[in-house]
C-alpha cells in the first residue's frame, strides 16, 4: 500500500513537472549546473577530488532541481559549504567571491521555483524585484569580501576580544533566527 501511494506521488510529481514552464526549466537547471562548477572550483583551489562526494553532490543537485521547494536544496548548500570549509585552504582570492555567488545562484533559483507549481511562469515585476535583490545580496557579499581582504591586510593584534565579539554576534544572530523561525 505504501509502495503504491509513493508511486502515485512520484507519478503525480512527474506529471506536474511535465507541465513545467520554460522559465521553471531554466531556473531548475541552475543547481545541476552550478554544483559541478563549485566542485571544480574547490579542486582548482587545492581540494582533492572525491568521486563519492561529487556523486552525492550531483544527486543533491538533481534533487534540488526536482524538489526546489523542499529541504533538498538546504542539504545541497550545506554540503557544498562543508566541502569548502573542510577541503579548501583558507583563501580570500577572487574564487571565494565566485563560490559565494554560485551558492547565491543555487539559493535564488530554488527560491524562485518555490513560488508555485512547475507550470507557473513568474511575471516580469516579480522577476525584476528579485533581480534587484540578487544584485543587493551580491553587492553585500562583495563588500564583505573587500572588508575581509582589508582586515586581512591590516596587522591587527591577536587576542580573545575580536573572537569573543564575533562569536557573540554569530550566536545572537542564531538565537534571533531560531526565535523568529520557530515562533508562528
Amino acid at each position: 500500500m505504501t509502495h503504491s501511494v509513493s508511486t502515485l506521488a512520484v507519478t503525480r510529481h512527474l506529471d506536474r513537472l511535465s507541465l513545467a514552464s520554460r522559465q521553471q526549466v531554466l531556473l531548475r537547471a541552475v543547481p545541476p549546473l552550478a554544483t559541478p562548477l563549485f566542485v571544480w572550483l574547490t579542486v582548482v583551489l587545492g581540494s582533492p577530488f572525491h568521486p563519492l562526494l561529487t556523486a552525492l553532490l550531483v544527486l543533491l543537485a538533481v534533487g534540488s532541481a526536482l524538489l526546489p521547494d523542499s529541504s533538498v536544496p538546504l542539504f545541497l548548500v550545506l554540503t557544498l559549504a562543508a566541502t569548502w570549509a573542510l577541503q579548501v585552504p583558507q583563501t580570500l582570492s577572487w574564487w571565494t567571491l565566485v563560490a559565494a555567488l554560485l551558492l547565491l545562484a543555487i539559493h535564488l533559483a530554488c527560491t524562485l521555483c518555490g513560488y508555485g507549481p512547475p507550470a507557473l511562469a513568474l511575471d516580469r515585476a516579480t522577476l525584476s524585484a528579485w533581480a534587484t535583490r540578487g544584485l543587493l545580496m551580491a553587492s553585500a557579499t562583495a563588500v564583505v569580501w573587500l572588508g575581509t581582504l582589508l582586515l586581512a591586510g591590516l596587522d591587527l593584534p591577536a587576542g580573545p576580544v575580536p573572537m569573543v565579539a564575533g562569536l557573540a554576534v554569530a550566536l545572537g544572530w542564531t538565537a534571533y533566527l531560531g526565535r523568529r523561525l520557530l515562533t508562528r
Partner: protein
Amino acid sequence: MSAPDLPPGVRAVSAGWRPTPALVRAGLVSAGLAAVAVGFGRPDLLVLATPFVVHAAAGLLRRPSTTPTATTRLAHTAVREREATTLHVRVGGAEQVEHAVVALERVPTVAARPAAGVVGAAGDGSPDLGVDVVVSSLRWGHRILGAGVVAATGPWAAHVWGPHPVRGQPLTTLPLPGAYDSRAPVPHPIGLVGTHPARVTGDGTELASVRPFHPGDRLRRIEWRTSLRSGELHVTSTVAEQDSSIMLVVDCGTEVGTSDPVAGTVSSLDVSVRAAGALAEHYLHRGDRVGLRVLGAVRRGVVPLSSGRRHLRRVLDELARTVPGQRQELDPQRLRVPPGAVVIVLTPLLSDQSVLLVTTLAQRGLDLVVVDTMPDDVVARAATDRDRIAWRMRLLERAAVLDRVRRAGVPVAAWSGPGTLDEVLRGLGRRARQPRAVRR
C-alpha cells in the same frame, strides 16, 4: 478562507503564514557558516554566508502580520459550450502579499488559459489582489468550475500562506446547438400564426385555389384574368399559415461512444443533446411551439410546449441537466402529446425501452420521427479486437431493430445536420393526407 470552509477531506496546512524553505535555508546556512567562520577564524566562510544573512534578515524583518482571505467568483453563471468565462480569485488582506498563485484542478471537460491552470499575480500593496483565470467549459452540463488551491507569498519569499483550497463555482454549460435548417413543412400545423402551410384556407402566401367571389372576400384577392375570361368575379384563396408543435424526446438511458471534447469525438448523448438543441432553436425561431421530454431522467426532465426566445433557454437548460446512464421507467402511454404535434425521438435505439416507446407512439398514430444518434465510429474506436467484434454483433442486432421500427411506419433518419429531417417530414406530410387506420 477559514478552516471550517474547507471541503471534506482537505486539510489546511496552516491557517496563517509559515516560513518558506527558502527562509529556513537562508537562516540555517547563514547561522552555521557565521558560527564556523568566527569559531575557526575563517573569513572566507563569512563571505559565503553573507547573501544568506541578507536574505534571512530581510525576510524576517518584513514578516507579514495580516492573514489573507480568498474568495472566488465566476464572471458568468451560464455559458455555451467552448465559450470562455473568467474565474476571479480575490485575495483579501493582501497588503503584505508579494505574490499570489492560483492552481486549478485539472478537469477533462474544462480548458484553462494557460493550459495548466496555474496563474500568478504580483501584489502592489493594495488590500485586494485579484488573480484571473480564463476558463472554458468544453462540454454541456452542470459542473463545478474553479476548484483548486491558492497560495500567497510574503516579501522576499520568506513566508507563505497556504496553499488553501478554493471552492469552485457552479456553471451551467448550455449545449451548443448543431447546425440545422429545414425547408420541409411540418405535417399538422394547427396553431394560430406561423410559417407552415395548413390544411385549411386562410390568410397566407401559398395559392390554394381560384374560386367564385363570395360576400366578405377582400377586393385585393380578385383574380382579374379569370374574372374577365369567365364573366364572373373570381378570387384567389390561399392556404393558411399556422404554427406547429414539436415534441422532442431525448433518450439519455444509453450513452455509447467516447465524449472527448479535446480529441473531437462525440458520444450518442452528445449528438442527441446538440441535435435537440438545434431542432429547438430552428423551430422556435420559426415561431413554432417546442416541448422537451428527457427519457430516462430520474428528475422530471420535462419542458412543456411553448414558444419564444426565453423558451429556447429553458429547453437548453433542461438539456444541460441531462445525466447519462439514468434509467427511469416511462410508460409510453403516459407521454402526453397534443394533437397535431410532431414527436421527434432522438435515440441510438440501443435500449428496449426506447424501442418500446417508439413502437407504442407509432401505434397511437402520432406523427413520429426517429433521429438516429448512434456515432458512426464506435467500431473503429473500440479498444480491442474483442470489443470490435462485440460492437459489430451489437450493430447487427440494432439493424434488425431499425428494420422493425421502419416496418412499424416510423421514419428513421441519422442525424446529419441541415436537411436531416426534410425527406422524412415531407413523407409524413404526404402520409397525413392519406386515410389510415389507427389503433387507440
